[in-house]
Amino acid sequence: MKDYQDGYIKLALPKGRFISPTASLLAEIDLGFRDYSDKTKQYRLRSTRFPRLSAKMLQEKDISIQVAVGNYDLGICGLDWIEELLVKYPAGALVKISSLNYGEGSIHVVASAEAGITSLNELSDGRNDYRIVSEYPNLAEAFALNLRMRRFRIFPVWGAAEVYPPENADLAVLWGKSGADIATQGLIPLKRLLPVTAFLIANRESLESKDLSQILTCFSSKITTGPQTSIENELDISEELKVSRPLWQAKEINLALPDGHQQPPTAQFLKRAGLALQGYSEEMVSRRPSADLDWLGIKVIRPQDMPLQVANSNFDLAITGEDWLREHLYRFPSSPVKKLFALGFGAVKIVAAVSQEMPVADIDELRSLVQSSPDVIGAPLKVASEYIDIADRYLRDNHINPYKLIPTWGASEAFLPEDADMLIDNVQTGKTLEQHKLKIIDVLFRSSACLIANKGSLASSDKKEKMKFLTQKLRAGLK
């Protein structure tokens, strides 16, 4: 909620890749955020120099959206996430103030060296159906449309786009340090879409009606007047590149394994099951581990992406969480993905939580509160969640009305209480929620890691035997 009278200014600061250069910048221009570092455990920061300036640390993906929505007056985030929003909603409420002159790499359109695509012309002339995988679906779509590609499908992913081509995608739109860096991954950079530099951004309305001058003055020494990079700029792809080609051949059965915090317990589980893998240990995780079964292809991708990737037959089997399977099946009830069995690790609860100050103990009381005093909460009820379809169904089933979903990329607790009234997220112990002065008002369900399969692969006469062999082997890993 915006308040122009009190003159409070809210700044959204990035977590992750830009923390250390941003922290140096903030120290240099003396905004008074001493706690802003990758070590900090808190999301909320107060300026020691400007009493009316506060900041919150958010995922970069969220910053462009949150500033556009007006929850923050100013923000710092990468040009990639800004353009991802602006390319779809150009006349929106997000204003780029200036590049901050730090950042690394660019967003590239890449093809696999195996796919035989070497230039952009081939993409627009052909009648092929191109599969494009990206964390930046809007940029990917704009690219395809501008090139007048005749037929394409965009597969948004949570990460690891580089591992999809050539088997599971023809093109990827992804971040790379340089063309050469991309080439080492066996990919050909076809076009550089934009450089990833940090930008200072503002909400249009704040800029038009609120006095941000003190803060902008601090930034002014860092604000450049040079030409601002936009997506239109075409950049050379003529660098001499040595594309390394990873040994690759189509496998009969394809298995997806999780990266991130699900990786160690999955590795242990596979070890118990007697599946010897190279490149999937604590010491070294390759995106393409190899197994001692020559017919088995393995890729390491995000667990969030697995149900969809199994549904579209890119993988026959995958180890993911029941939460992500449920999220997928809520969205696509007739999806050909099936849970085979739970694996007994990675247990979490999916909960609904609100601020400890909210006078409700359960979802029924929350419903009454929303209905009886909408102004206490500020209707509609804002719900932050990374499980959009689970949250949507939960709110519908519980007759919470009206509500508004705020999609997040994890760490939904950072949104409460200022930017959301409620979160639906996974918890292991609930300690994080407590630290942020939140309380659980409902447990939606419990989730743990599970093995999922494509129904078509289970029934296919070519794959049936090997699928059976592999699932039996994995079952042996159950404690």
């Binding site: 390319v87 779809k88 909603y89 150009p90 006349a91 929106g92 012309n121 627009s124 159906d129 599969r131 779509e141 704009a142 395809a144 449309l145 501008n146 007048r148 590609m149 005749r150 037929r151 394409f152 499908r153 965009i154 597969f155 149900p307 969809l308 549904a311 579209n312 997928h328 969205r331 696509f332 007739s334 999806s335």
Partner: protein, 407 residues
């Protein structure tokens, strides 16, 4: 987002009715395509501009895991061309028409996202005659709607494309220039100097001059003997069409730069203007069916834009005022209500519009009022609202019918 209120709908239906009658009388057949189509239908032909495609409403279907997306129809012609290719391509000729809504969003959310079109498409046949046919049909609809001071502007996509070729741009530059022209930025063309001064002269002349008859085109032809073969054949095509229009007494203005958004057109393009607004447009699009993997079927068509036309139509008189009958119950007793329903039914059966009322409100704008009191021996009272005097009628329904039918 926009509601169409009763008055709007009277105008809307009038446009639709006139359009349907005209199309049928020219032997066109009505079709309807689904509101949801696959996105790839609109990308497949490579004809819509990126900026237009970036404004489609698209979403995942039930099988969204396949990555296939569906869109709210952003264009009227492409779905009908698909309908023809999928279902009717065996026919040598197909004259089809439709009334449809199309959807597009713009960044502010202030403009209307839904627009209505009355369109007609002619598949097959030779050139020339169908081009003239669709122009005359569109003109007839506009004339019958009673819209005055309508201007017809003609251009030719083949001419424009031939001019672009003469500039000898790189494929990327040419694509960009095409996009600019499609968005109506014709200055871009004059700014792009070619190596050949003759071409610059041709471009300048065509963008500057506006012709009013085929003679203008003959003059262009004579002034630029060195123009490319593509240019000449397009010019010849336009000369043939305009000569025919001249002979049929159809007036127009040739203005190459007047038209934009001619994405899929290959030949003649035209648009109708009234009160400074574009109220319709069309043209020849010979490549669309082949690009959809259909046979090499030439085609042309037009659409009239219902929303701006609605603003130009005079409001029709409330029909009720001429013929409507109010059947009014004096009290809300079951007997009176029943009698009212019976009376209204008899009136409707006899072809009248009968409205029931039990509220006792002050009525207006009816031709007749039948007051049902239920009292014998005279349960009805009939009032002539035009003459303003009550006439007492006996118990006979037949008498009421006789009086109202005689007016």
């Amino acid at each position: 987002m926009q509601d169409l209120l009763p008055e709007d709908m009277l105008r809307f239906r009038r446009i639709e009715d006139v359009f349907r009658i005209c199309c049928r009388s020219w032997s066109y057949q009505e079709v309807r395509t689904p509101t949801l189509e696959y996105l790839h239908l609109f990308t497949a032909t490579g004809t819509l501009t990126p900026s237009m495609l970036s404004k489609v409403y698209s979403f995942l279907d039930w099988d969204g895991w396949s990555g296939e997306r569906v869109v709210l129809r952003p264009d009227g012609t492409i779905p009908v061309a698909r309908l023809y290719t999928d279902n009717l391509s065996g026919q040598e000729l197909a004259r089809l028409f439709y009334v449809t809504n199309i959807f597009a969003f713009e960044g502010t959310g202030k403009e209307n996202r839904e627009r209505w079109q009355c369109g007609a498409e002619f598949f097959g046949g030779a050139k020339l005659a169908p081009d003239v046919e669709i122009i005359l049909l569109a003109e007839e609809v506009i004339r019958r709607l009673g819209i005055s001071d309508v201007g017809l502007q003609l251009s030719h996509a083949g001419l424009v494309k031939a001019l672009l070729k003469e500039l000898k741009l790189s494929p990327g530059e040419e694509a960009k220039m095409t996009n600019r022209l499609l968005e109506g930025n014709w200055q871009a063309l004059t700014r792009a100097k070619s190596a050949n001064p003759e071409i610059d002269r041709l471009i300048a002349a065509l963008l500057d001059l506006k012709g009013k008859s085929s003679s203008f085109l003959h003059n262009v032809k004579a002034s630029f003997p060195k123009a490319s073969q593509d240019f000449k054949s397009s010019l010849e095509d336009l000369i043939n069409i305009t000569t025919l229009l001249d002979n049929l007494g159809c007036s127009y203005k040739i203005d190459i730069a007047a038209i934009h958004g001619f994405e899929y057109y290959t030949g003649i393009c035209f648009q109708f203007l009234a009160a400074g607004e574009k109220i319709g447009g069309g043209g020849r699009y010979d490549n669309l069916v082949p690009l959809m993997n259909g046979d090499a079927i030439p085609a042309c068509g037009f659409a009239l834009y219902v929303d701006p036309i609605m603003k130009l139509l005079p409001l029709e008189k409330e029909r009720k005022g001429e013929s409507g009958i109010l059947v009014k119950g004096k009290e809300l007793t079951p007997e009176i209500v029943e009698t009212c329903f019976t009376v209204a039914e008899s009136l409707r059966d006899a072809g009248h519009t009968a409205e029931l009322d039990f509220t006792g409100r002050k009525e207006s704008n009816y031709r007749w009022i039948v007051l049902v009191s239920g009292k014998k021996p005279s349960p009805f009272m009939l009032t002539d609202c035009v003459q303003g005097r009550p006439r007492y009628i006996g118990a006979s329904m037949a008498e009421i019918l006789k009086v109202v039918s005689e007016g």
